[in-house]
């Protein structure tokens, strides 16, 4: 009896599946004239509370406001880049965006093969008549973070702050893409007070929160009371360390202020969402630029709204930072780009 039930259930489940799927087909409709965008995530994929999620957010907005068809795909490893780029182009996408800078070599090849498709890559420059490179002026956001840190580290009325003029930076890998944060941060700090000392360290990984915490604790031990991190998921550990020692951390890429409320001074946000949205907008007008350099002016980078800290610190500081922001936008202050 039991066996009969088992067999019956298996057969039933299979039949249900077949019947159910047959019916579903009708509901699917695709408008041929609709603009089609696909986005390939970088390592880590969706759910990273950072880069990929931010890109996805922009795509969602584009879908809603601009009425385009969107698709987000997450390759398993970097060798699949070629397959993904070409298959997406073949499937008739108008715009294929990759967030993985590891795809830069294959993108050069693939883009030539599919001249009717527009490609876009983030954080690195790739040449090609149908390739847009999206670069961020991380140095501008970092400059503001550095300036703010220089002001805050001297305000000993705050319980998070000690009497030493030391702040610090933790990067994922010692590379130009990461050091741009450090150079902007340093420049901003010395703009306020040249005597501020900026410590720096690298964790050599973007996915190792334990290492991030360890490095942050050592810097805090040396007197740093504001730790700026540009290290992906490793940065979670940095924020934990700041919370544990009740000092400040500074977040990166997305608004990380909420991870440890009151202990994340601000976040240097890279507005990948704005960039993705802008790309789609340009695509619908067929007015792509070969290079997008997005800074404070273009709302490509900005400081977070400081939801949990703006009441802690003096209003005067915020005014000064706002002043600096305007000066950068107007071109009065030029923050150095060490990549050039």
């Amino acid at each position: 009896m039991k066996k009969r039930v088992l067999v019956g259930m298996l057969v039933g489940a299979l039949a249900l599946g077949l019947v159910g799927c047959g019916q579903k087909k009708e509901t699917k409709e695709t408008n041929k004239d609709q603009f089609k965008v696909a986005m390939i995530t970088s390592e880590g994929g969706l759910g990273d509370r950072s880069f990929n999620d931010s890109g996805n957010e922009g795509l969602k907005q584009a879908k809603e406001k601009l009425n385009v068809t969107t698709k987000v795909v997450e390759p398993g490893d970097v060798s699949e880049g070629e397959t993904y780029l070409s298959q997406l182009a073949e499937s008739g996408m108008d715009l294929v965006i990759t967030l993985d800078l590891g795809h830069s070599d294959v993108l050069k090849k693939v883009a030539k093969k599919y001249p009717d498709t527009q490609f876009a890559i983030f954080n690195t420059a790739v040449e090609g008549s149908n390739v847009s490179s999206v670069l961020f002026k991380e140095q501008e956001g970092s400059f503001l973070a550095g300036a703010l840190s220089a002001l805050v580290t001297q305000d000993t009325s705050l319980e998070q702050v000690n009497d030493k003029k030391i702040i610090s930076f933790i990067g994922g890998i010692d590379s130009p893409g990461i050091n741009i944060f450090l150079s902007g941060f340093k420049e901003g700090a010395s703009h306020i007070d040249p005597e501020i000392k900026v410590l720096s360290g690298y964790t050599n990984s973007f996915a190792d929160p334990a290492k991030g915490k360890e490095t942050a604790l050592s810097q805090i031990g040396q007197g740093s009371d504001i730790v700026f991190q540009a290290a992906g998921a490793t940065g979670d550990g940095v924020i934990q360390a700041a919370k544990q020692k009740n000092v400040f951390a500074i977040g990166v890429d997305s608004d990380q202020d909420g991870i440890a409320k009151g202990n994340v001074l601000t976040s240097v946000m890279k507005r990948v969402d704005n960039a993705v949205y802008g790309l789609v907008e340009d695509g619908m007008k067929k007015e792509y630029q070969t290079t997008y350099e997005l800074g404070l002016k273009e709302k490509g980078v900005e400081l977070s709204p400081m939801t949990y800290t703006k009441d802690l610190i003096s209003e005067d500081y915020l005014k000064q930072i706002e002043g600096l922001r305007e000066q950068i936008i107007s071109g009065e202050i030029k923050v150095k780009d060490i990549r050039k």
């Binding site: 009896m1 088992l6 060798s79 954080n123 890998i173 050599n204």
Partner: protein, 367 residues
Amino acid sequence: MELNKWRIQMVMKSLLPIFLALMIGYILIFISGYNANEAFTYLFMGALGGKKQIMNTLFAATPLIFTGLATAISFKAGLYNMGAEGQLYLGAFAAAYLGFSLQGLSPGMHITICLLGGALAGFVFALIPAVIKAYLQVDEMVSTLMLNYVAILYTTYLASYPFRAPGSSNAETINILPTAVLPRFVSESQLHVGFLLALVAFVIIYIMLNKTILGYEITALGKNQHFTEYVGMNVAKKIVIVMTISGILAGLGGAIETLGTHGKFVSGFSPDYGWTGLTIALIGKFNPIGVLAGAFLFGILKNGGSSMEIMVGVPRSLISIIEGLIVLFMTVDMLNKRFSLGTKIKQAIQSLGSSKGSQNNLKQEVN
């Protein structure tokens, strides 16, 4: 006759879990709100639907053949080399280093040297756990497992600091010279000559296991180590030989990935090829033919899975679920006499038939 029946049973044992896993995968895709028929069509058409698709599937299978064989041969000897992943990374880095630093060689020569370098790296790195296992009885499962971290982190260090390509934000080396690149068959597919080398490795291992004394000794070692020791085999020496062959295979796999796929060493390039190889070795029952079949199956799942995601939007994690289910069902010995699904179905059909008979009887009685 008896042997044939046993073989059929072995094949069935491997096919049944795959079938069940695919069936559950189908149901899961359906429940998740996707068109499961369309998804499965793309899964199979994307992997096998044309010349290019088949070539890409073989491309996906290539590194898995190496890591699968590497694991199978050691497991067959009762040695649990869990270090294929680490050996793969070192082989890949060694090949990349030779690939970008040796100048002025002819392509054939350069590729050969790079492959030998990759094999040597795997050999040396497997020698450590092999020797301490053979002569100091250190558990090879623990040592190889731990050495993976050493290899992966060390190569990441090398690619991040001393050998990082200038200006790159990724932890990767500069490109290898054109003379060291394993050529593709056609430009549309990523399949490269490395696949042929994988087949050569397969043939060599097959012959070695089935036609040579060493193969016999490996099987004997796997069946009962103490017995082989008592009958006078030099077990320690055999342990070293088997472990290092395993390391050479994994190292070669890494070298071929560098030379054929990436053209440089990229830190973290492997999506767990070593561990997938272990799964494949288990599915293939440590038999080279089984490993080859398993590698193709995982190639199909990987390549078809990407089409399924691109065309239908089914997340790749569903493919991982199917892979996990295959392994899960593998561990259940379904053709075991007591739990045999075959006999269960047979019994079920019989009882169905007999109950129909009794129902008929009942009806007649009522009438």
